[in-house]
Symmetry: C2
Subunit: 309 residues, 2 copies
Amino acid sequence: MIETRLLRQFIVVAEELHFHRAAARLHMAQPALSQAIAKLEARLGFAALTRSRRSVALTPAGRAFLETAYATLDTLDAGIGRARRVADGVAGRLTIATLSLAGYTPVLETLRAFRRALPEVELDLREMPSARQLEALVAGEVDVALMRELALPAVIETRQVLTEAILLALPTDHPGAKSAASNEPVALGDFAESDFVFTPRALGPGYHHQLMALCQAAGFTPNIQQEAAQLTTLLGLVASGLGVALVPASIARSLRLDGVVFCALAPLPGRPDASLALNVNWHRENTSPLIEDFITRLKSQTRNETLPL
Amino acid sequence: MIETRLLRQFIVVAEELHFHRAAARLHMAQPALSQAIAKLEARLGFAALTRSRRSVALTPAGRAFLETAYATLDTLDAGIGRARRVADGVAGRLTIATLSLAGYTPVLETLRAFRRALPEVELDLREMPSARQLEALVAGEVDVALMRELALPAVIETRQVLTEAILLALPTDHPGAKSAASNEPVALGDFAESDFVFTPRALGPGYHHQLMALCQAAGFTPNIQQEAAQLTTLLGLVASGLGVALVPASIARSLRLDGVVFCALAPLPGRPDASLALNVNWHRENTSPLIEDFITRLKSQTRNETLPL
DNA sequence: GGCCGGTAATACGTGTTGCCTATCATAGTC
DNA sequence: GACTATGATAGGCAACACGTATTACCGGCC
């Protein structure tokens, strides 16, 4: 096996074509260098240098191997530098599972700032529902996940990023839509008899449960007429008059849809305002230094605020 | 400094993610491997592996460095293979100084066969006059030289490749041209009073001297009307009627020029036929294994024959 | 809950090897 | 012909890579 020590020694000898000077540059004695080069040539199986008593010259194979020696050490040095930058958290890749980020201005701003601050870091964004995010996190497929509250295994850490109000989405021609026009909160209990459209429970059990609980607190169990995985699809169903929907405020910020109006919900007596959290989660044993950096930036950007409308 | 031993050890540990199995694959004991990896990490300056008592995993920087380790060893292995092929004379580069090869069919055939037999060898052909070839050979700029006979320093080896007749090139309307038409040799002495065109002495002193000596033997000193470096130019001058010229037979084989006819020379009494040699020369201390190969092929192709007309 | 199997780290001894100093051999130089 | 420059060889030493023995610790299992 050819050690890099031998490569370094060979390079200097090839550059100097003089064992004494080369040995001096290597801070070693000439005999040791002669031995090292002899060992190198024995391992290579061919003569890399021709030595007369007066001069040293490279053979053609030696010239070819010199290129290899340079290339090998360059590859190694560059790779060490790169790996050090990865270890220092200024290079590498951060894979992020997210919900649709359309309405989350502070998160988008964080991503932009992160990319600007760490141009050597590749950001890999993958949009998926909360339940799938958790699977990906546990499986190590992603480094961080931006998702709804969910029951988490102990290895998953979580921090709240922001909260946002829950709004009621109504078809424009719905009787309750006049409240929306006047920007007045509506009482959820007034919609006990309405048809509802919901996202499937399996995609985000926590989210689903929270919306259901909200209805229970308002005194009814929603009559679910139809489910749709995507919020945009859900609002399309609302627009078509199939029912009303409870949605996070972020979707109202990013999507103005003809035929749909959004109403704030009047607070229920004895209960705080209905709001949804967006959390950032990560695997406790994931050693990427980028995770902490990303979360720190995210928190300083959002300061756990409620997303404004 | 990171030795390749450490790279190999790290690669196996990263592949196995298990110190015992990795040590077995490396034919060593586990503690030594633990120490080796610890030393690697100390030199790298970052942790490449996270070890719990139960499991081993790569850090992101470790993953990055693993790529580097593979790339480094690949570069080295490929380079060693390449250099070995260079040493074995099946790869590399052979730089050849030549006269114009147009008429030298056996040499061209050798080049073709060489290229076919050794596709990994780059042939670098450089056309230049004999005197310049010798300089290039001594300076190490070329590996072999195909040139006229010349006084050579002791470090230059030489072998004859082939010989070719010296012909007299005449303008078609020259009184002597009728001999050419009947394919009869002409006596050089008959042209004692003719004007001659010659190549400059400096480009090929041996060649020049040989032609002059031929005229002397025929009893005259040629009246040199004009010089031209290129044989094609020289023959152009002949065609225009400026004079006659002594040229190697190869040029007659490769160049048919309106207004010029070539005549064989009648042997002079007591002298062998007038002929020129094409020699292959190389530097005695040039260690390229391709030189011997090339010369062997050249000789087996030509067998020192006289170039046929 | 204590025991056992599995795993990596630590302690310490040893053989290899990379390097040192001293010397030799040889070729070119004054 | 002695001298100088240069690389190779010889012999010794110390660093280090590796081995054996042991420890430390975690999980699963009876």
